[in-house]
Symmetry: C2
Subunit: 532 residues, 2 copies
């Protein structure tokens, strides 16, 4: 394996990262058919070497789509302060008989290199350069079929049986489901309001005892730094720098799974303090980008970050399309895994997304994601407003040692209902109990609701997971489905007094959010009261 | 793992196949999120449990395509004896706001179960039942993203490190590229004009010596039974029965990779003996199907066949869509692997292909593949006709022990060119040497050309692989690219006197075939002569 030389002249020396490759990644070789490829691009060569069907017999002669522009997102609720003319367009991709040579349906639907359409590669590479700004020049992008495929390939390429992955103590379950059957175990790190804690990370790594752990010190970290799933936490730049420095010190590869990056919404401001809900779209893209939290790539002077981007949250999950940004050595190994599994992503997806992006251009895509983040901001705000209508909130600053250290925590208790009159007044001490708490997320799709079972009368009688599931089922039977927190556990030590729900506000209609919060108020209040 | 009970009352007892599962397949569990799924279909439930983006923010409001029907294939060259009106149609898939509830773009582009759209499942299940006619009732189909993905999942689900796969001595290189880095080795079986030989298969299995081979007896066979890649061989029903009986006896799972199934073209008849090239489309589908060679599924009374079908050759490779047909236990395990890699196939592919199939219906698809096989038949015939124009053919019946036992072999030598006059007459003995030979394929896309280097003057001086590559490069430099046979070797014992080319006739234009064969004639003649 070739040594990779990356490093800026001021800070870094050349770093060899090839020892991170798994046995499987080392064993993967180019398809022997690649011998043929040196002739492939020769003009006038008659190619009878590959099992390609005749594109004249493809039953699709063109594909079209009615597409929306960012302005259509603003129109729907007239939330925009600015006026943008509607730019919805019909896009069409024709076969080669009537299309330009460089981008046509025939090419997209024929077998091709697993790296995908050149126009798509160009778009993703330009976006990575402008938005994520890698700290070294020869970064590479590589198409994949969504971040789950991307992470799966990272696991295959980096990890051997018996090794561990550093993860947040709560994390995306499918990420673990990929790794654990291969004999790769999660090593949970404590998280706070910004995600993975650098002090705990250093503590785990510096005190690593191979014999006690029966595992070598981990050399791979899986991290969702923006709108973390499930906690909703977003990591600031300073924390990222701390984490990166530790990863340099302990020689760790960072897999940055960042599907919610463009759903950065800014802090939640309670309704009473909020000025109008209006959407601003910045035409100054440098300013917009400068306001986003930087990617790990921006400080990655050693090439030890593999970033995963996806169109699942910004376009549609069914696109099954995204890309890696990483050093060329890792990219080359990750490419090999596509050749024996997915091959290139769907030609229909590639051609429709590529044509959409060519129509929007980089500027149009940047405006689209700005508008999109504002739409999700409006959903987040509305949902939290609904909670504020149903519960009494006390806002406190979380101190050291708290799960949400450094953040403002919203403590929710029963709302004084004047209609209850005297009867309620007697119950005030009970009502002042915190039922749940949360930190309003600044990005993504999730509220991570901590259930204060220490205030539940039956806390000594039932274990906390059982209380969590009881409440979860009661809510489901009453008409609202959250995700029980226990399914996101990466094997942290069991909490004695706290349960969790992950609540997605992303896809629920406004009226349904209103209904859901009022169901929650009734059910959770009963649940905490009826044991009194 | 549950025991699977399959078996017809006359022939079989219930068979437990669960011991074939790999360690990895046993370790794979359902995503913990599946706990949520019991509530998923509840009407009136407000779902805030999953990280779904809001489909109102998908930038595609409809997708359309201009599609062709089978009649358009016939029209192009007016090759049809029958008249069919053109039925080309524009298909459109709209979002849920204007579409019917059960099939719309919103559903296709949102996250969904990895099993795919219900209408597609129904189509593939109906097709498997009617065309492949599995020998047991509770067979299951499962969508995948193409046969390479399908085979990769089979390898993951069935094979542990250190095990072997039974394969033809020449086989699809990507199939081996999937397995070998995992420590799974090919066990080559001799092939003849029908593919894998049952006598050699039995010999290898019955004489298996674990210690000498350093490998347990293989329990998985990979086979491309129709238009085999690279040999073009198609296995008859009797041979399939022999192979299946051996697989029952030695407890072997058969992975039937059958992308060329619908490209069955019938025997080649030399141009001089051929009646007109005309296309007949049978409206009697039972009769059409009865004429196709049956799938291994038809005799699979024990559920030990995993069949892979794909739309890559019948629709377009860029579809990245196909399906497994197998027993429900294997299907369930194979499903788990999609959850941590590809997830469901592209929603654009699924919706466009599904809508096309709903438009064509089963009958329309069957007519399409009939017309398609006739189009490829015309290409095969034209290419072989071109060879006949350039070379002198002698047709002989291959005897026992010959690679192509049981088939008619075409031996090609230089054509007597009368313009050469007396000079040529003197060279007749040289010209009568066989340069190459082949068996005209009855299916698929490939001619497997055997190069008779025993007649090459330098055969003692160069090894055969080197002669093969020299000739291959000379042809490429002269303007025609074949695939060198050596890249398809599954590790058979090296042949002392024969080289091979795999020639694809599938995608080359007629005029280019003409040019290619005349280049071949010039280059190969020189190559065999110039050493004299």
């Amino acid at each position: 394996m070739a040594t990779i030389h990356i490093g800026d002249p001021l800070r870094g020396k050349a770093v060899d990262l090839s020892h991170h490759l798994s046995d499987l990644a080392r064993a993967r070789v180019n398809s022997p058919l690649n011998k043929l490829f040196k002739y492939w691009e020769e003009p006038n060569l008659i190619i009878m070497a590959a099992g390609l069907p005749d594109p004249e017999y493809f039953p699709f002669s063109s594909v079209s789509s009615e597409t929306l522009s960012f302005a259509s997102l603003l129109e729907k609720n007239s939330m925009s302060r600015q006026h943008f003319p509607p730019e919805n367009k019909t896009i069409t991709i024709c076969n080669e008989t009537i299309a330009t040579k460089d981008f046509n349906l025939t090419t997209a639907l024929q077998y091709g290199p697993v790296t995908g359409l050149p126009q798509l590669i160009e778009f993703q590479t330009n976006l990575s350069a402008k938005v994520f700004q890698p700290a070294y020049d020869n970064f590479t992008t590589l198409i994949h079929t969504g971040n789950t495929d991307g992470w799966n390939r990272c696991v295959m390429a980096l990890l051997n049986k018996g090794e561990g992955i550093l993860v947040g103590e709560w994390t995306y379950p499918a990420a673990l489901a990929t790794a654990t059957p291969l004999g790769v175990s999660p090593v949970p790190i404590t998280i706070d309001g910004q995600g993975i804690r650098s002090d705990h990370l250093r503590q785990v790594l510096s005190g690593w005892d191979e014999n006690a752990r029966r595992m070598p010190r981990p050399h791979v970290m899986y991290i969702i730094p923006v709108g973390q799933n499930p906690s909703g936490a977003t990591m600031g730049f300073e924390r990222k720098k701390e984490i990166y420095a530790i990863c340099v010190e302990f020689d760790i590869i960072i897999v940055e799974d960042d599907p919610y990056y463009f759903l950065q919404q800014g802090p939640y401001v309670p309704k009473t303090d909020r000025v109008e809900d209006q959407i601003e779209i910045s035409a100054n893209l440098e300013a917009y980008i400068a306001n986003l939290v930087p990617s790990f790539l921006k400080i990655d002077y050693q090439g030890r970050v593999i970033r995963l981007d996806t169109f699942s949250k910004t376009v549609a999950p069914g696109s099954r399309l995204g890309w890696f940004t990483c050093n060329p050595m890792f990219a080359e190994r990750l490419e090999r895994f596509a050749e024996i599994s997915t091959e290139g992503p769907s030609g229909f997806s590639q051609s429709l997304i590529t044509k959409l992006l060519l129509t929007w251009k980089y500027e149009g895509y940047m405006k689209w994601v700005q508008a999109l983040s504002q739409k999700y901001k409006a959903k987040r705000d509305f949902f939290l407003d609904c909670l504020a209508d149903e519960f009494n909130f006390q806002i406190v600053s979380a101190g050291e040692g708290n799960t949400w250290a450094g953040s403002n925590i919203y403590l929710a208790s029963e709302k004084l209902n004047l209609r209850d009159g005297v009867q309620t007044i007697e119950k005030v001490p009970v009502m002042r109990r915190t039922l749940f708490s949360f930190v309003p997320p600044s990005s993504g799709m999730f509220i991570w609701m901590r259930l204060h079972f220490d205030n539940h009368p039956a806390v000594g009688l039932h274990d906390v997971n059982s209380l969590e599931l009881q409440l979860w089922e009661l809510l489901a039977e009453s008409g609202v489905l959250f995700a029980p927190g226990s399914i996101f556990s990466a094997g942290r030590e069991s909490d004695k007094t706290e349960g969790y729900f992950r609540i997605s506000f992303s896809q629920t209609k406004f009226q349904d959010m209103k209904t859901a919060t009022s169901i929650l108020a009734k059910v959770i209040t009963d649940f905490f009261r009826n044991f009194v």
